[in-house]
């Protein structure tokens, strides 16, 4: 894997606005800087390379902090999106994340005695990761969270069905179908992520 490709991929970690504005230029400057350093020998090239990669995380952090303050400034100015939009968006993210982590924690405790819960645990791990994506890729996180909601519903129904079957009980289809509702909160959270993403994009444009 060549270094420019690694840098190209790393640039994708930058906030979306910054990436869209500068990624192409940054990649070209990075390539030129290394090319020039190479003319001065291997150690110069290595020093330039190390400087770029060592400082990268600090630059990234600084840019996210700036992006946040920039967004807050934008919210403070009279705009179509009032402050409560920002609060509602943050609340949705936190509620989605806390709910996923809570259910994950509860289910993990059940795993030793109930192996049929494992697919549901996997679904909740995916849901948690999907909710975490929202801080970087809002719309994508919305779509994946909705997909995870479906997965949670299906694996939940499967876990209930196999549990009742393993206990030799008469399968109560009403209960199995009711577990399909487990996915509903994430369906709502995912849909809200998409709506917030659309609203944010509309304001930015």
């Amino acid at each position: 894997m060549n270094i420019r490709l690694i840098y190209h991929l790393l640039l994708k970690l930058y906030p979306r606005r910054f990436y869209a504005n500068y990624a192409e230029e940054m990649e070209a400057v990075f390539a030129s800087a290394l090319q020039t350093a190479r003319l001065n020998g291997f150690s110069a090239w290595l020093t330039a390379l190390c400087r770029e990669f060592i400082v990268f995380s600090a630059d990234l952090f600084r840019q996210y902090a700036y992006e946040r303050s920039r967004y807050r400034r934008f919210l403070m100015t009279p705009s179509p999106k009032p402050r409560r939009f920002y609060i509602a968006r943050t609340m949705t993210r936190l509620v989605g994340l806390l709910a996923a982590l809570f259910y994950l924690d509860v289910l993990v405790r059940y795993v030793p005695n109930n192996p049929q819960v494992i697919p549901l645990v996997a679904a909740f791990i995916l849901t948690t990761l999907s909710v975490l994506l929202v801080w970087r890729w809002e719309r994508l996180a919305g779509v994946t969270t909705m997909a995870c909601a479906l997965l949670v519903a299906l694996t939940g129904a499967y876990a209930t069905y196999t549990y009742e079957a393993s206990m030799g009980e008469v399968i109560t289809w009403g209960v199995v179908l009711a577990t399909l509702l487990w996915g509903l909160p994430y369906l709502i959270v995912g849909a809200l992520f998409v709506k917030f993403a659309q609203a944010t994009e509309a304001v930015r444009s």
Binding site: N21, E25, M26, A28, A33, V55
Partner: protein
């Protein structure tokens, strides 16, 4: 409430050098990087991320402007950066501040 140029002072060394590098003419990213290095005798070596982070802030402040050099055959147009009138005034204010400090220091040192 209005802000005057002096409200932004003092500038960080990197910001000062970036603005100074753009004072004579518009430059693209890599040229700024090299000029900053030359102006500081190799002491300040900006990483690409630091440079573009600073340029982004300066654009937001309106101290510099981004200009498109126009599309060339087979490649997208290269972007250059130039100092705005406001940026030039801020740079001048920072230079005045530095001169005042140096004058003060010289006077105090010679009085010893």
């Amino acid at each position: 409430m209005t802000t005057s140029n002096s409200d932004y002072l003092p500038l960080t060394e990197a910001t000062f050098l970036i603005l100074l590098s753009l004072a004579p003419s518009a430059k693209h990213g890599y040229a700024i990087l090299k000029t900053v290095q030359e102006l500081s005798d190799g002491r300040v070596r900006l990483s690409t991320g630091t440079l573009y982070g600073a340029l982004d802030r300066l654009l937001d402040l309106g101290w510099i402007e981004r200009i498109d050099e126009g599309d060339k055959e087979g490649e997208r147009g290269r972007k250059s950066y130039q100092l705005s009138d406001l940026g030039r005034r801020v740079l001048q204010a920072e230079m005045n501040r530095m001169v005042a400090l140096v004058t003060l220091a010289r006077r105090e040192m010679s009085a010893e």
